[in-house]
């Protein structure tokens, strides 16, 4: 597990009110093993590349919707941690890799045990011992809330059904309502 420098940890714990959520999950006693995110299949999307993360173990996927490769592309990374505490520690590490002060915890949405997002275009959440990061990486920015929700439901299915739960997902990310800043940065 990568370390977080003390000063940065102090900032993150205060900024994201870590005490309110760290270690809390209804699924603390049922960690998922061998989630096999490499089998994740999103209907209508082609897998461009897959890589493995090692610490904690995980799988990253670059998915594209069309052959026009620079248009609609998404990246999904799924980490499988030892337990809920380790997942929340890694979620904090993920927040450490985000420059913006604009992301906030979403307490309304039911995605994950704990979810942080920027509008409809960046999601990082933890469910049980799993951490999921969903982002746009193509120039055509997509709303990915439904995708994040579907990924979370797949984790929930896995929690309920065990390894036989399918990771075949059906969801169609739609163009995001880009903010002024996002629109400008893409021109």
């Amino acid at each position: 597990m990568p370390s977080i420098p003390n000063e940065h940890r102090q900032y993150l714990e205060e900024r994201y009110n870590v005490r309110a959520w760290f270690g809390k999950s209804r699924y603390a006693r049922t960690p998922i093993r061998q989630f096999a995110a490499e089998t994740l299949h999103l209907q209508g999307w082609k897998r461009h590349r897959m890589w493995r993360e090692s610490n904690p173990p995980g799988v990253g996927l670059i998915l594209r919707q069309h052959d026009n490769v620079l248009e609609q592309i998404m990246a999904i990374t799924v980490w499988e941690c030892d337990d809920v505490d380790a997942a929340h520690e890694y979620l904090l590490f993920a927040l450490m890799q985000v420059q913006s002060m604009a992301i906030e915890r979403d307490r309304v949405s039911e995605i994950g045990d704990v979810l942080f997002r920027l509008n409809d275009t960046f999601f990082v959440f933890a469910r049980a011992n799993i951490v999921v990061l969903v982002r746009n990486v193509g120039s055509h920015v997509l709303g990915i809330a439904e995708l994040a929700n579907t990924l979370d439901l797949a984790i929930m299915r896995r929690l309920a059904l065990g390894p036989q739960a399918s990771l075949e997902l059906s969801v169609t990310p739609a163009p995001a309502a880009a903010s002024e800043a996002e629109t400008e940065s893409l021109t």
Binding site: H8, N55, L70, Q99, R135, S185
Partner: protein
């Protein structure tokens, strides 16, 4: 008839002299000798790197091996001349065999590999050391050179040089041996941290002409910033998250992106830019780190990479942290190189009119440095100056994968 069998550049695979131990990328090592008859056709098929600091006033050497089907040949004088700057004129003849063999007696052609006597034993020479004197290679600056050599020989008693082979090579000239994450040892195919020539292709080109590390790092910072908006742009939709340098540096994906592929996508943040700049600069002998400042500070208007509009980055309230390529101990007095944004170098960076300057080679600066052109006073809004502190304990050089 003489044949050129092999050319070897990296004569000392220990860290000595000016030649560097290189590999092509994460998956492809480079075997020695670099040029082999039949297997090396294009420039990129035979690559070698030299560090200026290791050369100083020393002579650059290569080695080559030859064979002859004339068993009686005892010795020959052999050299190579530049075949691109001033190709020796062909001597036209209706007799093909003469056309192939006759070169020129002109000794004024630029000599790339200085002539020497080469003894033959049973039609072979083994590896023979030559002095490299290619006039095209500037031994004072960073550069990348494609050299095409015409190999010539002459036998005792015959003043005419006769050509017998062409070889092509790509030579990288760096300032010094690479800094971490790049390594020079152990020189083994499993060592993926040996210097990558796929990185030198860009680093030596971007910093071409640089004579010192500040010039090289500054040039690389500007060229990385210039990759926007077509190849990379600031990650406004993704909250400014790292895409290439999440923990290690996915340099393979970034090279794929540079070549026009998808890589890890078009978005980068400051961590990505700091890692790209420092890793590429360190490949040619700079000594930079990736290090952070923060935490939680408001910013002045700036132009994030890929943007042409002065505004607070992505209209966010501020940065949780920022990261740059940084010299020495990554403290207030050390210089920073930031390709992720263009900052205001004018009298008052808080408001228009804005004067764009590259954030390359500026000292980081102190919170009380009002009016000075330091990176800190340009980046952080007045209210953000204090929380925008150097965090040298975050200093790192991410491993390349």
């Amino acid at each position: 008839m003489i044949a050129l069998d092999a050319v070897k550049f990296n004569l000392e695979t220990v860290v000595a002299g000016g030649s560097l131990n290189v590999r092509k990328n994460a998956t492809e090592p480079i075997a020695l000798p670099e040029w082999r008859r039949g297997g090396s056709v294009n420039f990129e098929d035979s690559v070698a790197a030299f560090a200026l600091a290791g050369l100083e006033h020393a002579t650059m050497h290569i080695a080559a091996s030859f064979s002859s089907d004339e068993g009686t040949l005892r010795t020959a004088e052999i050299r190579a001349v530049d075949n691109l700057i001033a190709p020796p004129p062909l001597v036209r003849s209706r007799v093909t065999s003469i056309l192939q063999r006759v070169s020129t007696a002109n000794t004024e052609v630029p000599v790339s590999v200085r002539e020497r006597n080469v003894p033959f034993h049973n039609g072979a020479t083994g590896m023979v050391r030559f002095e490299l004197s290619d006039p095209k290679i500037d031994r004072t600056r960073v550069g990348l050179y494609d050299c095409e050599w015409q190999w010539q020989y002459r036998v005792p008693g015959d003043p005419v040089w006769r050509r017998f082979a062409i070889s092509r090579h790509r030579i990288y000239v760096t300032l010094d041996i690479p800094s971490a994450p790049w390594k020079q040892m152990p020189y083994e195919s499993e060592n993926t941290q040996l210097l990558w020539t796929d990185v030198l292709d860009y680093a030596c080109s971007w910093a071409a002409g640089a004579q010192n590390t500040v010039e090289a790092a500054t040039a690389i910072t500007k060229r990385v910033n210039d990759l926007a908006p077509h190849l990379i742009t600031f990650d406004a939709p993704g909250a400014g998250s790292a895409h290439y340098a999440w923990s290690n540096f996915d340099c393979s994906a970034f090279l794929e992106r540079l070549a026009g592929g998808i890589g890890n996508g078009m978005y980068v943040n400051a961590t990505d830019c700091a890692t790209i700049v420092s890793t590429f600069a360190n490949a040619i002998g700079c000594d930079l780190w990736q290090s952070r400042m923060g935490y939680g500070f408001s910013t002045n208007p700036a132009m994030t990479i890929g943007s042409k509009i002065w505004q607070k980055p992505a209209l966010w309230p501020g940065f949780s942290y920022h990261e740059v390529a940084w010299e020495n101990s990554c403290s207030e007095d050390d210089r920073v190189y930031d390709a992720s944004m263009t900052i205001d170098g004018g009298l008052d960076p808080t408001q228009p009119p804005h004067t764009a300057i590259s954030a390359a080679g500026l000292p980081f600066g102190h919170a009380t440095g009002h009016g000075e052109i330091s990176f800190r006073t340009r980046l952080a809004a007045p209210a953000g100056l204090y929380p925008c502190q150097a965090q040298p304990q975050t200093r790192t050089r991410r491993v390349v994968i």
